[in-house]
Structures are given as structure tokens and as C-alpha cells.
């Protein structure tokens, strides 16, 4: 086996490793992470509200995702008679895909053996990410349109306005980061933070704007306007049931994972820790896996934050939500760009 592998050309090894990375990342890392973040959400919410939570399936309720998955597949799928069938089917898939594709450009570790620990090391990483993230609004808008029903329609309209508004704040907030780094490649961003000078320390305002915009982009409380159970029943997925509903649900968690991964890379130094030689590219496979572990650990911190905030804060009113986006964060992000530009010009300018 090893002989056969060593006899392959480096290019063939690269191809095999790359495909392996994709398969492992999707089925062994992202899928369980999405499934278990749902369980974590339910357990943590139960804990915060002093309830028991799901604890019946398997030890500590750990087999809950399997039970849920089976149930989603076997339940009857209602399709409203007046729905636009093609779009009605398309919407859940469209909601799921962008989050997964975003993960492709995230460097989740330094090196595994001789291969880089990133699925596709694009030199325009962040542009690609923003391009794909803005696609996620289509799933929700399509769902609202296809359902041909009042509540989903209102939910879809609301969410499109909300998501595009916060996309601007999000896009502007990272500009100072790239002024400092001087590269759009996400691996270069991590390289810049290797020494422990994490960008959360250098650009705290950018981080705060990005974090809040991340909540709005993933439609999480306190910005879950598109769903708003008390006003819109279920919002854009009111008419959905069975597996189609599950895809929306899982898509939301996948989007949370993707945006957390972006925050880890942009502001928390990615796979690095500023001690014990963990900030240099790994020499051995064990070290490489440890750095992947560090990355996932940081990511879980953000997932925990997402869940915690959901059960701590009430929902904003729609006018407040738009006001914060346009009248606070956009001017703040602009000011942050100008201040960073002037500072950088004075210290590094020609």
C-alpha cells in the first residue's frame, strides 16, 4: 500500500489527497458538526431554561441526530396545492449549498503531511466567500415566493432586505483587515497573525461589526426576523415539512459553522496559538492534526456564542434592526476604514 502510494507522482498524490480532504471534510467533519450543533443547541437551551432537554436516545441523548434524521426522512412531505412546485423543491437545496461551498476556501490547519490543509487555496479567497455568502439569500427568498402563502412571502421579503443590508456592513468591516494583511488569500491572513498579533486585537471594531452582521446573515436571534415565530408563524418555511424543512434547519447551522470559521480565520488567528510552537506550519502529521483540533476548538467557541446569545436576548424590532445596520454599522465601518487608512499611511506610507 505505502509502496504503491510512494510510487505515484506528486501530482497524483495531490489529486488523491484533495479528493480525500473533500470527502472527509464533508462527511466526517461538517455533517456530524451540523448534526451535533442541533443537539447542543437543544441541550444548552434546556440547561439555560432549567429543563431536561433531549436525553432519551442513546447515552446523554447523543444518538438524537440519528433519530431525528430517520424521522425527517420517513415523515410525510406536504406540498401545498398552490405552491410553485419547482421552486418549492429548489429552495431548500439552494439554502443548503452556499454554506458548504464557503467552507472549501477556509484553511482549517497548516499542513497534513506534505499537503496543505485547505480544500481549495484560492488567491481571491475572501471575494469568493462574500460572493457565495450572498447567494444564501436566494434560498429564503425562493421559499417565500414558491410557497404562495402570506407568511412565507412576508418572511422572504423581510429576510432579503435584512441580509443585503448586513452584507454591506460585513463587507466593509473586513476592508481594514485586508489593508493590514495586503492579500485576499485566507492563508495569508493567518500567516499575518502567526506571531500572536490576532486581528481581533488590532481591529476590535471590525470584529464587532462582523460578529453582529454574522448573526444577522445567519438569521439567528436577536435578528431572526425572517422567522419571527410570534408574528410570522414560521416565516419563510411555514409551508415546509419533512426533509425539506430539515434542509432549511441544517442549512442554518451549516451557515453558522461557515461564518464562525470565517471569523476564526479573519480575527482569531485560524489554526495558530501563540505558544508551544503551534504558530508554525506543522512538521509532523500529529502536529498537523493538533492544529486542526485548535481550529475546530476556536470554531466551537463561536458556535457556543451563537447558541448562548439565542437564549439570552429578545428579538429586535424590524425598524431597530434596519437602523442598527444602516445608521450605526455602515458609518462605523466606513470610519474604521478611514482611520485605519490614515494610521497605515502615516506609519507605512511612501
Amino acid at each position: 500500500m505505502t509502496d504503491w502510494f510512494n510510487n505515484l507522482t506528486p501530482n497524483e498524490q495531490f489529486a488523491i489527497f484533495s479528493l480525500l480532504k473533500i470527502v472527509i471534510a464533508v462527511f466526517a467533519v461538517v455533517l456530524p458538526m451540523v448534526a451535533y450543533s442541533v443537539v447542543a443547541e437543544r441541550r444548552i437551551s434546556a440547561w439555560i431554561q432549567d429543563r431536561v432537554g433531549p436525553n432519551r436516545v442513546g447515552p446523554f441523548g447523543l444518538l438524537q441526530p440519528a433519530a431525528d434524521g430517520l424521522k425527517f426522512i420517513l415523515k410525510e412531505d406536504f406540498t401545498p396545492a398552490y405552491a410553485r412546485k419547482v421552486y418549492f423543491w429548489l429552495a431548500p437545496a439552494v439554502a443548503m449549498v452556499p454554506a458548504l461551498v464557503t467552507l472549501a476556501v477556509i484553511p482549517f490547519g497548516s499542513k497534513l503531511g506534505s499537503q496543505q490543509a485547505v480544500i481549495a487555496d484560492l488567491n481571491v479567497g475572501i471575494l469568493f466567500t462574500f460572493g457565495i455568502v450572498s447567494l444564501s439569500v436566494y434560498g429564503i427568498v425562493l421559499a417565500g415566493y414558491a410557497s404562495n402563502s402570506k407568511y412565507p412571502f412576508l418572511g422572504g421579503i423581510r429576510s432579503s432586505a435584512q441580509m443585503i443590508s448586513y452584507e454591506i456592513a460585513m463587507g466593509m468591516s473586513v476592508v481594514p483587515v485586508f489593508m493590514l494583511v495586503g492579500d485576499l488569500n485566507l492563508s495569508a491572513v493567518i500567516d499575518y497573525q502567526k506571531s500572536g498579533a490576532w486581528l481581533i486585537l488590532k481591529q476590535p471594531i471590525a470584529f464587532v461589526i462582523f460578529l453582529v452582521a454574522a448573526f444577522a446573515e445567519t438569521n439567528r436571534l436577536p435578528f431572526d426576523m425572517p422567522e419571527a415565530e410570534s408574528e410570522l408563524v414560521g416565516g419563510y418555511h411555514t409551508e415546509y415539512s419533512s426533509m425539506k424543512f430539515a434542509l432549511f434547519f441544517l442549512g442554518e447551522y451549516a451557515a453558522m459553522i461557515a461564518v464562525s470559521a470565517m471569523m476564526v480565520v479573519l480575527f482569531l488567528g485560524g489554526w495558530t496559538l501563540p505558544f508551544a510552537g503551534l504558530n508554525a506550519p506543522a512538521e509532523s502529521l500529529g502536529m498537523g492534526l493538533l492544529q486542526v483540533g485548535i481550529f475546530i476548538g476556536k470554531l466551537l467557541l463561536f458556535m457556543g456564542l451563537f447558541i448562548w446569545v439565542r437564549w439570552m436576548l429578545p428579538r429586535f424590532r424590524y425598524d431597530q434592526l434596519m437602523d442598527i445596520g444602516w445608521k450605526r454599522f455602515v458609518p462605523l465601518a466606513l470610519a474604521n476604514i478611514v482611520v485605519t487608512a490614515i494610521y497605515l499611511y502615516l506609519t507605512h506610507g511612501k
Binding site: L74, D77, V97, N123, A161, L334
Partner: protein, 147 residues
């Protein structure tokens, strides 16, 4: 008197460029990365469609009028689902188009920033001021205030 100006003839035979996935025996080109991205996209689509197809095959189907009716909190749905909605949504969308495009212009400038001359710094300062001016204009006009 008008003279005919002869433009130099441009050779328009298409040069067919092969896209190389590998520069040499051991170095993949950027195109290889885009190919991997495409593979990832296909995986993601499969990841989304697989469960849908599975449930379409396995799930029972017993439709009836009540199940298929439009949701309306237990009442019969009245009127057109295409309710009139606030024009404000459109205004936000228009503002979004303007700002999103301008943000895309800022990106290359930000990346090249530390190597730029004073002229470029000033030019971009003016551009950002225009952006700010647009925002202030919208603000004063009340476009950003939800009514």
C-alpha cells in the same frame, strides 16, 4: 475632404489556450484549485439533493385537501397571497446595489494599500467621501428610516 483611415489589421485567429492543472511534475496551478472548488460544489449539491430524493422515495404520500391547503392559522385562507408590502424594502435594495458595488471597488485598493502613492491614497479618500456623502444623503432623505 474626408480620408479613409486604414486601421491596422488585427489577426483574429483564436489562440486556443490549454488550461494546465499542473505547472510541472509537482506544482499544481491555480486552475487545479478551481477544479477542486467545482468538485466541492458538486458534493454540496449532492449533500443537499440526496436527503430530498431519499425522502421523496421513502416518505408516505396521502395528500388530501386539508393537508394541501395554504396555512392560515386554522382558518380558510382569504384573498391573494401577494399582499401589498412596504415600498421601503425596494429603497433598501437600491441602496444595497450602490453600496455593494462600491465596496467591491474598495477591496483591490485595500489589498494594495501599503504600496500605494499619496495620489492613490487621496483619490481613494475622495471616493470614500463620496460613499459617505451618498449615505448621508439617503439618511437625510429619510430612505434609511423605517416607516
Amino acid at each position: 475632404m474626408l480620408q479613409t483611415v486604414r486601421l491596422p489589421r488585427v489577426d483574429r485567429t483564436l489562440e486556443v489556450q490549454t488550461i494546465l492543472l499542473f505547472a510541472d511534475a509537482a506544482t499544481p496551478t491555480p486552475y487545479a484549485q478551481y477544479l477542486l472548488l467545482a468538485v466541492m460544489a458538486v458534493m454540496a449539491v449532492g449533500f443537499a439533493c440526496g436527503p430530498l430524493i431519499l425522502s421523496a422515495i421513502l416518505a408516505p404520500r396521502k395528500p388530501n385537501d386539508i393537508k394541501q391547503s395554504t396555512f392560515e392559522c386554522g382558518l380558510e385562507s382569504k384573498g391573494d397571497p401577494w399582499v401589498q408590502f412596504n415600498v421601503q424594502y425596494y429603497l433598501y435594495a437600491l441602496a444595497f446595489v450602490i453600496f455593494d458595488i462600491e465596496v467591491v471597488f474598495i477591496y483591490p485598493w485595500a489589498v494594495a494599500f501599503t504600496g500605494l502613492s499619496f495620489g492613490a491614497f487621496l483619490a481613494m479618500g475622495v471616493f470614500i467621501l463620496l460613499l459617505a456623502e451618498g449615505l448621508i444623503y439617503l439618511w437625510i432623505k429619510g430612505v434609511l428610516t423605517w416607516k
